[in-house]
């Protein structure tokens, strides 16, 4: 490795189908050089993340979008820890989108923790080192004799102590230290990392302060409501806006054609008015004709028929061919086969998609609740022929993300509307119906599994043919069958293949993409295998996992690979936690590994007055040696379990009929409510690995455990989600 590269801290990350992201904290430290307090801003900037105030408080920049995953609290905790200040002395400021300074700056893939664990601490440590160097100069002492404590510099020998702020002027003149030369704290000395810490915006949320994209309010701002065709992707044929324009307060009707993401072009009419309510109501006066030809042939019935046909033949593409599954199946003492299916699912963020945009003098400024601000900038630059430098994206808090806001279609739509009213900011807000219609859905899927057991009941062969969705033979976002589908790595003879169906419904990443569906199907089928072998699923999993070892990721896969010992550890933890003593009616188990996190769950379900309900869930996880903010970790895990309950039991599905989705509002998309929520017990295993993310990996095994519990309760194998009373 060349010295230059070696010297720098470089992490490569893949985000879904995106390219490689390279994160070099020294770019961020060096590109925003330390600067003394400017007139009117009495703070010394030590680097892009840290500003020191005369009262010895510090402002820390939170670079990533906050969508409810707690990142606006968590990343500054890492900086504050190594800066060695009291958390109470920290003020947090949300960064704007700045790919040069802050990339990677996205909320996705549970990547923020692994990507930032070291660099954010280095950013804090670099600022601390500059303060210490300034203090050493000021006091004419060797820097090695100085230490810090809660925002003060100490010299034990002479009993001197002074606040960081006393050295601000000197600190900004110091050279920026090389990140790798910085000495980071011994974890035993952490005072902030690992301490339950409340969300930095909690008081503002509870006071009802404007924080979210929808709360953006600018002088002279106009409002826009959108009308899109019932059939996704239908083309605007003709329209008459006269009656809408005649309404008081309506300013303009904008026809949008072939806008949005490249793979999900949108034709729409936007009504621009003085008030959103006026704009929304005026949509009823629009006369419009859509052309849905070619897009209206898609329906659940046709998908299911195509999947049945595909399952009779060979998969279009081989994902993994390991050993000789055909021979092993033919020679198996016992064979099982089953089909598992799941529907399209919507993100249904509670804050509908919205964006405020202002076109002014060839420049574009946006206020957006987005998970991927840099991607939005790039998409806007491409769509409108602007230089990325002429596009400013203010990152607002997001009222939920779950992957929906990785797509920036609503930023493009808002900008296209704003272009028609130059100089005036315009806020585009989708109503709930449009928000459902314009979603990028979790792909439906149809798995045909086969398994072979030898005479001793050991699983020797496994086959899965996934009929999924996408375009031109390529699966859409989160819709592929990965070669490391649990438990493909643990079985000798495996055939994995997939066939891709086309649909007009665009696909998107939804919390634990791929895994949220694969866990249901594969752990469900494995539960059947276990039963056939006279075992319980956790017993079978422990048998398959064997001794602890690291299995590297498949070619092109990300992360450090799959550690069987860590997997076994969380399984044992959840068995202990739940008091597992073998199979029991109404009890189910599920394990999954996703986003570098190991989770296992046990669920109890019972028949209540209003149908089956979840009585209790136990969940065990391993995300490494550190849980940065335990208070938030608990929230992420519980939220994942509750979302998983929705997938299995609440009836969450997006039917497709004639190219249109059969969901319009929360009455037809019944998210879990408080009265359905059971106690959820959490047990975390600390293993000797660097910490990884927690936004996603707890959800897949919860889905599997609840589904398997229902199978156990009813005696009918649940092979199709969501559960429906028969």
């Amino acid at each position: 490795m060349p010295a230059e590269t070696d010297r720098r801290f470089v992490l490569k990350a893949l985000l879904g189908a995106g390219g490689a992201l390279v994160f070099d904290i020294e770019l961020a430290l060096g590109a925003a050089p330390a600067a003394p307090a400017a007139a009117g801003e009495p703070a010394a900037r030590l680097n892009a993340f840290v500003r020191l105030h005369p009262d010895n408080s510090v402002t820390i920049t939170a670079k990533n979008p906050e969508i409810g995953q707690g990142i606006k609290t968590m990343l500054p905790m890492l900086i504050a820890e190594e800066l060695d200040v009291a958390w109470e002395a920290v003020k947090i400021e949300q960064a704007v989108a700045d790919q040069a300074l802050f990339a990677p700056q996205f909320a996705g893939g549970s990547m923020a923790t692994p990507l930032n664990w070291l660099p954010m601490r280095q950013a804090g440590a670099a600022a601390r080192a500059m303060i210490l160097a300034a203090a050493a100069q000021e006091w004419s002492l060797p820097v090695a004799e100085l230490s810090t404590l809660a925002g003060d510099v100490l010299h034990v020998g002479s009993a001197r102590r002074a606040p960081y702020a006393a050295f601000a002027a000197g600190a900004v003149r110091q050279a920026v230290p090389a990140a790798t030369a910085l000495k980071l704290k011994d974890p035993a000395d952490f005072t902030i990392i690992g301490k339950p810490t409340k969300g930095v915006d909690t008081p503002a949320i509870v006071a009802g302060k404007p924080l979210f994209g929808i709360d953006t309010r600018l002088p002279g701002m106009l409002h826009a409501a959108l009308l899109t065709p019932p059939v996704r992707g239908a083309v605007l044929k003709s329209h008459d806006a006269a009656a809408a324009l005649a309404r008081p307060g309506v300013r303009k009707v904008v026809a949008l054609t072939r806008l949005g993401e490249a793979d999900a072009p949108v034709d729409a009419l936007a009504v621009v008015a003085d008030s959103w309510w006026t704009a929304s109501e005026a949509r009823k006066a629009l006369q419009v004709e859509w052309d849905a030809e070619g897009r209206d042939r898609h329906s659940d019935a046709s998908f299911a028929a195509a999947a049945r046909t595909a399952h009779e033949g060979r998969p279009q593409a081989v994902v993994l061919a390991k050993g000789d599954a055909a021979t092993a199946l033919a020679g198996a003492a016992r064979r099982l086969a089953a089909t598992y299916t799941y529907p399209f699912v919507s993100h249904a963020t509670l804050e509908p998609q919205n964006c405020t945009a202002l076109f002014h003098a060839g420049k574009l400024e946006l206020w957006a609740p987005t998970q991927m601000p840099g991607g939005g900038q790039d998409l806007l630059a491409k769509t409108f022929g602007l230089a990325p430098a002429d596009i400013t994206v203010h990152i607002t808090r997001s009222g939920g993300g779950f992957g929906r806001r990785l797509q920036n279609d609503y930023m493009v739509l808002a900008a296209a509307i704003a272009r028609e009213v130059p100089g005036r900011p315009v806020k585009l807000l989708l109503d709930r119906q449009e928000d459902f219609k314009l979603d990028f859905f979790r792909a439906a899927g149809f798995h045909r599994f086969e398994a072979g057991l030898d005479a001793d009941g050991r699983l020797v062969a496994l086959r899965d043919h996934l009929v999924t969705f996408g375009a031109k033979g390529k699966p859409g976002r989160g819709a592929d069958l990965p070669a490391n589908l649990v438990p493909a790595d643990l079985v000798d003879h495996v055939d994995l293949g997939q066939t891709v169906l086309e649909t007009n419904i665009p696909l998107g990443w939804l919390r634990a993409p791929g895994s949220n569906a694969l866990a249901f199907a594969s752990q469900g089928f494995l539960d059947e295998v276990a039963e056939a072998a006279g075992l319980t699923l956790p017993d079978l999993m422990l048998q398959l996992l064997g001794t602890g070892r690291l299995i590297p990721p498949p070619a092109g896969g990300r992360g450090p690979g799959f550690h069987t010992g860590r997997a076994a550890g969380v399984i044992r933890e959840v068995l202990r936690l739940s008091g597992w003593s073998g199979a029991r009616k109404g009890r189910g188990f599920g394990f999954y590994f996703s986003h570098n996190g190991y989770f296992a769950a046990v669920a109890d379900v019972a028949k209540g007055e209003a149908g089956i309900r979840v009585e209790r869930v136990w969940i065990g996880g391993d995300i490494g040696n550190t849980i940065i903010n335990p208070l938030n970790a608990e929230q992420q895990i519980r939220g994942s379990v509750i979302e998983g309950m929705g997938h299995v039991l609440s009836g969450l599905k997006v039917p497709v009929d004639g190219g249109a989705i059969g969901v319009a509002n929360f009455d037809s998309y019944p998210l879990p409510r408080i009265d359905a929520v059971p106690p959820i017990e959490i047990g975390m295993v600390r293993s000797d690995f660097p910490p990884t993310g927690l936004g996603e990996p707890a959800m897949p095994p919860a889905i599997a455990a609840i589904a398997n519990a229902i199978s156990s309760l009813t005696g009918q194998r649940l092979r199709s989600l969501p559960y429906a009373e028969s």
Binding site: K198, I205, L350, L577, N665, R673, I682
Partner: protein
Amino acid sequence: MKTALKVNGRTRIVDAPGDKPLLWVLREELELSGPKFGCGQGLCGACTVLLDGQAVRSCSTPLSAVGKAAITTIEGVGASEVGQKVAAAWVDQDVPQCGYCQAGQIMSAVALLSANPRPGEAEIDAAMSGNLCRCGTYHRIRAAIRQAVTGQVAGSLNPGGDHAG
């Protein structure tokens, strides 16, 4: 149409059509952004405000139906003792994840405790089941309501994240 509204203890004059939902009158005319738009049909509860102490969905309450009722939004929740207790409990329990639904949750909780100062678990669930939380903060919502009832910080906060009920 000019209408006088009593909002958070103040009389405010708004000029809006009678069929405009109270939510949009509050958000657009009175610049109160606490009540949130989620569904427009009274299904999610994000827009919940109090009318004479009763929880209503402001997204489906037309301005003309408000009359002389006193409106309380999250911005005015601190005016009552119950409101103060509930809001303080929400902070103590660190209830929000994304936070979008929480203003509505808090208003529903205030309405519940004003009418029933010592609700049981089933009564809490019943009163709060009109408010969706997409992130799933329901355990802490229950804990915060229990805290507001008992005055004791207990329940959901557990530093290790382990054995949470």
